[in-house]
């Protein structure tokens, strides 16, 4: 575990992974929950997009593209 205390997933480097603990933004949480991202899910940052700004993220078995702002509200431990 790279971070023993929950930290924002936007701080992760490509290849790092963790378990989602909670969300810090209610509005984004609603949207993330709808597409199946929720506390307890495994999150792995796979790679950064070519022009920066967004990340290819794997959550459980699902692939998602998230912006930095969106990753920042996901607390991972």
């Amino acid at each position: 575990m790279p971070f023993p205390v929950p930290a924002a997933a936007s701080l992760f480097e490509a290849g790092q992974s963790g378990t989602i603990d909670r969300f810090t933004n209610e509005y984004l949480a609603g949207k993330l929950l709808d597409i199946g991202v929720r506390p307890g899910s495994r999150l792995r940052v796979v790679r950064k997009s070519p022009f920066g700004g967004s990340w290819y993220v794997k959550i459980d078995r699902q692939c998602l593209a998230l912006r930095k702002k969106e990753l920042a509200c996901i607390m991972v431990k």
């Binding site: 997009s49 070519p50 692939c63 593209a65």
Partner: protein, 711 residues
């Protein structure tokens, strides 16, 4: 509600998450008997089709847009909630086929449990059942059916398994909708929503507690809620401290907790099915190879448009040519034969010739969509797009805009940020749609010499073709940047995009798309072209009587004094009559405006008619140049190549004029349908007018600069 009576035309709704394979199933169930229209009041594409079941009246099957939950964030999703919470509405289904991807049941059941709690008769359709044996996936169907309380049917859009069973299940449900009524709700509204619900339950037109809860959440925007009730809901929400977002999050969490154990007990995954997708994505979404691959794909597409389509095009050209010829030979000469051959067949043939290229383009885009590439493209270019004030999803619109701006503009409704969406709508028509292909093909042959490199692998004309497309994209991006600076909104913007697993395309879906779109092109464009061809034929055959008489007298006079042969005299008469006709007058009237761009009055006529729809250009040319002529009407290209200015005797379609016309057609907003869609999507005339003015201004200035520097 359900009294055991089957309605005259029962409505069955296909509902499910995006990427659940809903549309594939829709294609299988309805075949080509589909009607594509809009849901009332909104431009969300509504696909409806007929389904016949033994012992039942014909069923109307409606393909609802993909949605994740009853808490919508896009227009598409709002529509689903709007219709499914309104039992009085015309589209309220008598039964729902809930489509879920069998490999993603742990996510796709969220909306299912919500709709189930609305007490809607449902069948759970597990799509992609072909993966069941291949990937070691096992699903305990009877158990799932028992736990969820609905019939469960595994189907596959690939090998068509389960379709017969599904039809039987639909018939069974329609005949006895009460058989599978839910015995117990998946979710009971919690303590903090209890008070507000108790107060509103009697006031709201709700069928049960959950229905009332959803109406409480969404009353501010639901169309079927009367204003008085809306205010009541607002007041009750404030009085009881109802927190919509918090209540949504609680509900969603609880639902996952309820259905997850059910899925876990019924579904077994053997291996990691997505490793193949991961390996593909290592290359496709690679920071360096990804964009390179994207560009290579686009180049391949444009080369294909030029190279592959030539044989069917020649065939169509030949067919229409012989058709016109044989009509001329069989029918007696007269105005009707002229109208038929010069007006209708010439106009229609001139456009049908381009059907192969349009079909290839839609084929390509349908494959990219089916495979799952378009979502990757959106991911790759999101941050680049953001710099231009757009969203990663705008890439999808900008790519599909190359086929047709209308579906492309409609695809922007997945962008939740209004400014990003508006910018995408405004600039998408600058990408070169398929209607420009006819114009490009003809004019490029005058503007660019037919030189080939590498044994015909790359042609200069093909490069010019790709260049025009690139110019369109560049203009779109730069205009977006300009609008981004001008318009300011503080709204939040999202990417949050699902990257579906790569799949081999279901060829049936690709085929259906190509067929539907080509049919629409032929019918819709054909209609306009037909009308304009006939009007144009009349306007260029008839004119003010005194002018026409003067033209004829002048020709007779010249034929006598200059001793012209019969053919020469006929040609002269034709061109003089055209000039004296109503169309000629109109063309002459606008000639001063278009002279700086290098156009004569004949091109002026074509430009004017093109403002209805740009594909009319070629048809107009065919009509104008075939009036009164005895030649084969269908070799427009040859006719244009021989066209000379009567005064200077120079070729009309020289390099400067051809390039100027090309540039004009790249930028100009010449499509009434697109303007109509923009109006509907932006709710007013402001933005379509802005769009028309800015595009046409760029076109005029661009064409003038090009002509003046080349001439």
């Amino acid at each position: 509600m359900h009294n055991g009576q089957v309605k005259a035309t029962p409505v069955v709704g296909l509902v499910g998450n995006p990427n659940s394979g809903k549309s594939s199933l829709f294609n299988i169930l309805t075949g080509l008997r589909q009607r594509i229209g809009n849901f009332p009041g909104v431009t969300v594409e509504k696909k409806a089709g007929m389904l016949t079941l033994p012992g039942l009246p014909t069923v109307e099957l409606i393909d609802f847009p993909g949605a994740y939950s009853c808490y919508p964030t896009s227009l598409d999703e709002r529509l689903v909630v709007q219709e499914l919470t309104n039992p009085e509405g015309d589209l309220f289904p008598d039964a729902i086929l809930y489509v879920a991807d069998i490999t993603k049941l742990d996510k796709h059941l969220l909306l299912f449990t919500q709709l189930r709690d609305l007490d809607l008769p449902m069948i759970l359709v597990l799509n992609m059942a072909d993966l069941m044996d291949a990937d070691g996936l096992t699903v305990d169907i009877p158990r799932l059916s028992k736990e969820l309380g609905v019939p469960v049917v595994p189907v596959s859009s690939r090998d068509h398994r389960g379709i017969t069973e599904l039809k039987a299940a639909i018939a069974g449900l329609l005949q006895d909708p009460n058989r599978h009524r839910p015995r117990q709700a998946f979710f009971e509204p919690g303590a903090n929503t209890r008070d507000v619900l108790t107060e509103l339950r009697r006031e709201l037109p709700a069928r049960n507690d959950y229905h009332a809860l959803l109406l409480t959440h969404h009353a501010p925007w639901l169309k079927h809620i009367p204003d008085a009730t809306r205010h009541q809901v607002q007041e009750a929400r404030v009085r009881h401290g109802f927190h919509s977002l918090r209540s949504q999050v609680e509900e969603t969490m609880e639902r996952y907790n309820t259905f997850e154990p059910i899925v876990r007990s019924a579904v077994r995954h053997a291996g990691d099915t997505s490793s193949r997708s991961d390996r593909i994505d290592n290359v496709v979404t690679h920071p360096i190879f990804g964009p390179i691959l994207f560009i290579a794909l686009m180049l391949l597409l444009f080369q294909a448009l030029f190279a592959w389509a030539s044989i069917p095009m020649d065939l169509i050209e030949f067919t229409f040519g012989s058709l016109g010829q044989s009509i001329r030979e069989t029918l007696p000469a007269g105005w009707f034969t002229d109208l038929l051959v010069d007006g209708i067949i010439a106009g229609l043939g001139g456009v049908l010739v381009f059907l192969p290229q349009i079909a290839i383009l839609f084929f390509f885009i349908a494959i990219l969509e089916e495979v799952g590439y378009l979502a990757r493209a959106a991911y790759l270019f999101d941050s680049l797009m953001q710099r231009f004030g757009l969203n990663g999803r705008s890439v999808v619109a900008l790519i599909s805009g190359h086929a047709c701006a209308i579906p492309a503009i409609m695809s922007t409704r997945t962008i939740s940020n209004w400014k990003e969406r508006l910018l995408t709508i405004l600039v998408t028509p600058l990408t070169s749609c398929s209607a420009r292909i006819p114009v490009y093909v003809i004019l490029i042959s005058f503007a660019v010499p037919p030189v080939v490199y590498f044994n015909g692998l790359i042609s200069l004309q093909g490069l010019a073709f790709a260049g025009l497309y690139f110019l369109g994209i560049l203009a779109a991006m730069l205009s977006a940047l300009a609008f981004k600076v001008v318009l300011q909104t503080p709204e939040r913007s999202f990417l949050m995009l699902e990257l579906p697993e790569y799949r081999i395309p279901v060829w049936r879906n690709v085929g259906t798309t190509v067929w539907q779109k080509s049919k629409t092109f032929v019918l819709e464009a054909g209609k306009i072209i037909m009308i304009i061809s006939v009007i144009l034929w009349a306007a260029s055959t008839y004119g003010p009587p005194e002018d026409m008489a003067a033209a004829e007298a002048q020709v007779t006079e010249r034929a006598r004094t200059q001793e012209l042969s019969e053919d020469e005299a006929a040609d002269l008469l034709a061109s003089e009559r055209l000039e004296a006709s109503y169309a000629g007058h109109l063309g002459k009237a606008i000639e001063p405006v278009i002279r700086p761009l290098g156009y004569d009055w004949k091109i002026g006529i074509a430009l004017l008619t093109s403002f209805a729809a740009r594909e009319v250009f070629v048809g107009t040319m065919a009509t104008i140049y075939s009036i009164g002529s005895t030649d084969d009407e269908f070799r427009i290209r040859e006719r244009l190549a021989e066209e000379r200015d009567p005064v200077t005797n120079e070729l009309v379609y020289n390099r400067a004029t051809s390039w100027s016309l090309l540039i004009f057609y790249v930028f100009a907003m010449m499509c009434m349908s697109t303007l109509a869609v923009t109006k509907r999507e932006t709710n007013g005339w402001k933005w379509p007018i802005v769009q028309f003015v800015f595009m046409t201004a760029i076109a005029y200035i661009g064409a003038m600069v090009v002509y003046q520097s080349l001439a």
